[in-house]
């Protein structure tokens, strides 16, 4: 069969169905359909990323601001007496922070979809709401991984390097970290209908995570309310797990890593699932219950 079709093919009479159109058969397997839906939503996000120069520029500018300016300034002024290299500590923190922050910003585009009524198109389709949300999070993760790569480059310029093995392990953990950040952001963004509020919500979600989870400032001496808050934040466990991977077998391990990696992993999975269920419920509910 000839598998090529010309886009400029012409049919005889416009406005009439002249022959029975080719029927498209639905996929039978439910799992296959859900995975296909996740891929479609994910692919849309990646397509939109490449069509938006602003997003690309922002994904690359953020590492310069976060790692280059904030990180650089802290390294110059606060690195003494810690018992470990602040540069490496902060680079790992910034990598995780970038994954969280950029994924959250990507999730905020759900509000754009609400404004253009594109959410309606998604919600009226016969696929699970979880597939839509997971696809959206994974799509937002793409920009996050670009930002992570930018952070590594900035780190390299600043003289902070990681081994290839460490990098690959961080890359392997990054989908879990993005899923965690995206699921957390769904709780707020799923409820929001205006772009202005969404931008504010991104700040509300990302800023406390950055400062209380130990991304740039060690939290081993935190106590009281700040300690409780830090333990409630999924990013705390994402960071600790990533640092456990990076610092494994090094003398600094005990000064830098707070929990057993299994505890971190369980906490991430538990918090992510809880956030995903609550956030998806809010998202579908606010679109439907008016």
């Amino acid at each position: 069969m000839n598998d090529t079709l010309s886009v400029k093919r012409v049919t005889p009479v416009q406005g009439m169905i002249t022959s029975k159109p080719v029927a498209l058969a639905r996929r039978k397997s439910k799992v296959s359909r859900e995975l296909n839906a996740v891929s479609a939503v994910l692919a849309r996000e990646i397509t939109l990323f490449f069509k938006s120069p602003g997003t690309i520029i922002m994904s690359l500018a953020m590492p310069i601001i976060m790692m280059g300016m904030i990180g650089g300034n802290m390294m110059q002024n606060m690195s003494s007496g810690l018992g470990f290299q602040l540069g490496e500590f902060m680079l790992v923190g910034m990598l995780v922070n970038m994954l969280f922050m950029t994924t959250t910003m990507g999730m905020a585009t759900l509000v754009d979809d609400h404004e253009t009524d594109f959410n309606q198109e998604m919600l009226v389709s016969p696929v699970s709401r979880y597939s839509l949300v997971v696809g959206k999070i994974l799509g937002a993760s793409f920009a996050a991984i670009v930002s992570m790569a930018g952070t590594l480059i900035v780190g390299l310029i600043m003289g902070i390097t990681l081994h290839i093995g460490q990098l690959l392990l961080i890359l392997a953990l990054s989908p879990l970290i993005c899923l965690s950040g995206g699921a957390l952001s769904m709780i707020l963004i799923g409820l929001i209908k205006s772009k202005k509020t969404a931008n504010f919500a991104v700040m509300i979600i990302t800023m406390p995570q950055m400062f209380l989870s130990g991304a740039i400032i060690p939290i081993s001496n935190s106590h009281g309310a700040l300690l409780v808050l830090s333990r409630l934040m999924p990013m705390t466990y994402c960071l600790d797990l990533t640092r456990a991977v990076v610092y494994a077998g090094t003398p600094e391990y005990n000064s830098v890593v707070m929990f057993n990696p299994l505890i971190n992993f369980a906490a991430i999975v538990g918090l992510t699932m809880a956030c995903l269920i609550i956030g998806t419920y809010f998202f579908a509910r606010t679109e439907k219950n008016r």
């Binding site: 029975k20 080719v22 498209l24 996929r27 891929s39 479609a40 009226v124 696929v127 699970s128 219950n289």
Partner: protein, 314 residues
């Protein structure tokens, strides 16, 4: 079994004093073309939103293709297609990318990152539909660069790509020019003929409902009437003869003598029912210089109906 069954449906929005939809019931048979008419704020879009599972109901029961919209929403979505009142396209994607996204969500084909990589069946279907609706030249342009009419046509293609059993059209021709409107309806009628697709339409262009099987009028959240367009016209309006003569006074005397009521503003308008125009004219001897038969339109009947039942919601 009816394809759409609505029983005692009620929808009350949060904080609203009165329900937007107030205990309505109706049924739509497979293959029927139903127009759901009503003034602004009457409850049309609320009803269609509930039927398409995008809005929750307050009470009552709605079944589409035998599936309950509340408990079996996913199965309902498998059987329906919808064109929303406001376009629901992604303006940053191309027309084809919007269709591809939809086709993948509906499980019609596996996602591939480029049109050329999609299945042959998909490509053929998209190109066929694009040519029929007349947007083949715009298929690979970003939606934000397409006119409102083009976007509407694109939505039609998208809603038909999974060959739904029921197609919900919520004011589908709003903002379209007359040529586009006609083209769209030609196509929708062809789809209906070919596939037996059931169509549930809301519109403010009453002429679009002239050829439907059934008209349901909703007003103040309640179904006011459900009948065929002919039944609706017959129950509300009469045919009219429009006459005039050089000797108009003689004509009017004759009409009075025949016990026929008339209005004489500009021309002489004689409503008639239970008789034929031929019988009326046969009784007249005055030479006529004007003779026309006015068939009431569905719009005339609709406006009359709203007038009788308390008018439109303001």
């Amino acid at each position: 079994m009816s394809l759409i069954e609505v029983n005692h449906l009620v929808k009350r929005y949060k904080g609203a004093n009165v329900p937007a939809v107030d205990d309505i019931s109706f049924a739509v048979e497979p293959g029927e073309f139903v127009a759901f008419l009503g003034p602004n704020g009457a409850g049309k879009t609320t009803t269609i939103s509930i039927l398409t599972t995008t809005l929750s109901l307050t009470s009552g029961e709605v079944k589409i293709a035998g599936f309950d919209v509340k408990h079996e929403a996913r199965q309902v979505r498998e059987h329906i297609g919808i064109i929303f009142q406001k376009p629901s396209l992604d303006p940053n994607l191309t027309a084809e990318e919007n269709i591809r996204f939809h086709a993948c969500l509906y499980g019609m084909c596996g996602y591939r990152p480029a049109f050329k990589l999609m299945s042959l069946a998909y490509r053929r279907r998209v190109l066929d539909l694009a040519e029929i609706v007349g947007i083949q030249d715009a298929l690979f342009k970003p939606v934000k660069k397409l006119s409102g009419g083009m976007q509407r046509k694109l939505e039609i293609i998208r809603s038909l790509i999974h060959t739904p059993e029921v197609l919900f059209l919520d004011e589908p021709t709003q903002g379209l020019d007359p040529v586009s409107r006609r083209g769209l309806w030609d196509y929708i009628n062809d789809v209906r003929r070919q596939y037996g697709t059931t169509i549930f339409l809301t519109t403010h262009y009453i002429d679009e409902a002239e050829n439907v099987d059934k008209v349901c009028v909703i007003n103040h959240g309640k179904i006011a009437i459900c009948a065929s367009p002919d039944e609706m016209k017959r129950s509300l309006l009469h045919q009219e003869l429009i006459l005039d003569a050089e000797q108009r006074d003689d004509l009017l005397d004759e009409l009075t003598g025949l016990n026929l009521s008339y209005k004489a503003n500009g021309q002489v308008v004689v409503p008639f029912s239970g008789t034929t125009a031929q019988e009326v004219i046969a009784g007249l001897k005055t030479p006529l210089n004007t003779l026309k038969i006015h068939e009431p339109s569905l719009e005339d009947a609709y406006v009359e109906f709203l007038h009788i039942t308390g008018g439109a919601i303001q």
